[in-house]
Symmetry: C3
Subunit: 315 residues, 3 copies
Amino acid sequence: MKLFSSVHDVNDLNQLVSEAIQLKASPFAFENLGKHKTIGLIFLNPSLRTRLSTQKAAMNLGMQVMVMNMDKEGWALETRDGVIMNGTTVEHIREAAGVMGEYCDIIGIRSFPGLKDREEDYSELIFNKFVQFAGCPIVSLESATRHPLQSLADVITIEELKKTTKPKVVLTWAPHVKPLPQAVANSFAEWMNKADYEFVITHPEGYDLAPEFVGNAMVTNNQDEALAGADFVYVKNWSSYNDYGKILTEGEGWMLTNEKLKLTNNAGVMHCLPVRRGLELSHEILDGPNSLVLNQANNRVWAAQAVLKQMLEGK
Amino acid sequence: MKLFSSVHDVNDLNQLVSEAIQLKASPFAFENLGKHKTIGLIFLNPSLRTRLSTQKAAMNLGMQVMVMNMDKEGWALETRDGVIMNGTTVEHIREAAGVMGEYCDIIGIRSFPGLKDREEDYSELIFNKFVQFAGCPIVSLESATRHPLQSLADVITIEELKKTTKPKVVLTWAPHVKPLPQAVANSFAEWMNKADYEFVITHPEGYDLAPEFVGNAMVTNNQDEALAGADFVYVKNWSSYNDYGKILTEGEGWMLTNEKLKLTNNAGVMHCLPVRRGLELSHEILDGPNSLVLNQANNRVWAAQAVLKQMLEGK
Amino acid sequence: MKLFSSVHDVNDLNQLVSEAIQLKASPFAFENLGKHKTIGLIFLNPSLRTRLSTQKAAMNLGMQVMVMNMDKEGWALETRDGVIMNGTTVEHIREAAGVMGEYCDIIGIRSFPGLKDREEDYSELIFNKFVQFAGCPIVSLESATRHPLQSLADVITIEELKKTTKPKVVLTWAPHVKPLPQAVANSFAEWMNKADYEFVITHPEGYDLAPEFVGNAMVTNNQDEALAGADFVYVKNWSSYNDYGKILTEGEGWMLTNEKLKLTNNAGVMHCLPVRRGLELSHEILDGPNSLVLNQANNRVWAAQAVLKQMLEGK
């Protein structure tokens, strides 16, 4: 694997999940694989789980790890081509990526969308420039429109806990006070399509995801209907794709509660974190037995480790 | 040891100090003890000595180290229970601690007090939530009311240099322009009580420490009287405990000088650093032969390493 | 080597370059040399190449690496002696350097000039205080007036690619919108003098470098004349040394283009990066076959590794 930016970069999803679960059982079985190899983890935005889990995954494989908060420790990046850089940007992404590629065998990069210009965000400008100019394998640590390491961890979590071959998985929109990217929802949707579960997306009107991510999902604005009989419920806020980057509703009644959970098949409740308690998801669920959020967070390590392992093996 | 938050978590102080001194002589004697173990060092506030010495201690034991500036690299933390998170906080400490516990075998955390609400600060809200939700051994890297790794390093320093079994140790308040926590003073006081030295605390009126930290110390507002015959003088500013978080006096005449040092038994002068020269402590003392501040800073490594060693050994 | 602050600290430049080129061929040949040794990389300013390349160099030698952004993660530093610290600075450089020297076998430090007070900047106040009080070997990661690891990488790059024993090397001033330090230009000039190439400096009137750096260089305000027959062209902006820290001209016509490159002997074009495209250096050159900027960036690793190797060997 030379690029891990979406589910489409995965050759065999079952095998990748299976490798992750084996690594979870034997974290240090390949601790010499990354010897003398360096990974650079580049952050243009805050990160907790991605930062720590990917770092740990790389160390478990014996890699040298360099973490760089580009937004704080480096130089303001220019991403547009052909401009005269006489403003506030100090370094062009062509040079920044090229230089980091000289120092790293693998680069992980996180870059959020601006949520102003849909075309620019969905062209994955920054991420793709990095891929183009770094000249080494690249792992997305969440890009403008996708968060594939999260989605892989989510699939691992479901695979570990599912009780039927084809569980019913529901992605439900949740309220928030700030406009958030569609990345986690997009990504989860395309991995669910690939995993071939019974997959339902529910959200208020106006919150449709881009069609290429929805795939074969059943989509409904009726949350209760969606939740009926669900085995897993994935809770996540996102801002509007059509009315780009906007909040269209306060979403009253959309927060998942124990009452709503009764509609499900005693579903496991998932969220990528960070989560706003009492707004996106109720305290009672997060503190209760149905919450899988720590399982997901834990599986971030094995997701990252399986991906890095395949990259190091040149598979 | 599963928790290192105060002297009360130490089973046998003499043995811990003795282990630290042995590690100072042979820093790498246990370099395989921490193999495949990960420590997360979480900072909610600035740090120099604690950051570097604890990192070094962990590396000397062969641990994988992950450093995280939560306040800058992560998400704004919510600490109150049951609130609707519709403001500026993005992640609840319950999830943050729980997630980091998934990635770490030991967590170190630094969290200063707000100095507004004494009850909240002295309940050690943030530190205790971490202990409660991380689910792994926790080391305090300075909490709202204590700085135990500093105090252990201080005891090591005194043990290395004392010329009598029961030296006279004086903790003297010093002037400052900003209200500082009582943490270092509190902590030093309870460790001195445990170490069973002749221990005197001196400060201007209104600066009494909380009784549970003062213990059996002799307390006086007369600095000269306190200094008489002292073998070690610990200099530190703190804001008022009773008139909580306030500065009550400019403290004219309270800065330690060579003139005042004549009252002592050629005392070693200690400070946890950072120190404001010419305000808290005179240039002449810091640049002179009686200063032990670099000895203390050096001993931070062995203090941390002894604590981490006991945690790794599950003692 | 106990100090690496300028070309004058290098005993034998040919040998140092030769060691760097050998390390480039066998990066891990000395991976046990730094075992149990710790390097602290201290940044008072942003850094990308220096941060990552020096970290990688140290890891290649088996060292423990601690990175500290003093300006963000630590305490505000006081550098003046004898002052009463009752303002905004929290820790004196005497203590900060002394403490870090307790934790590190080698310290690297970056500290930019203020560009207000030439005498202070050129006295290398901060860097020299660190050298004085750290008590361990020190590597400059760019100081107020020099950037020696960059210059060493530049010499390595020229040595690798030169086609004649004594190539013609031109340092040309370039336009910029912000006043920049003279450090890279100063440093390059003194290393070129030592390397004994045919060396020419060209800049608009008023931009003369300090004489001690110019050395035996030919200096001209006529860029075309300078470029004639050049084998290597080093492009860099700097602010005025005589009218200290000032921008004297917009420098119209001074940006290097392919048209200007025709004057040269198909010269390799160098820049330390970050570079402002379209202002300091044209897109066409940076994206074209004559650009050596990534070669230089790559050689930063081997420059740092050769220096650290000599320090570890106590040579």
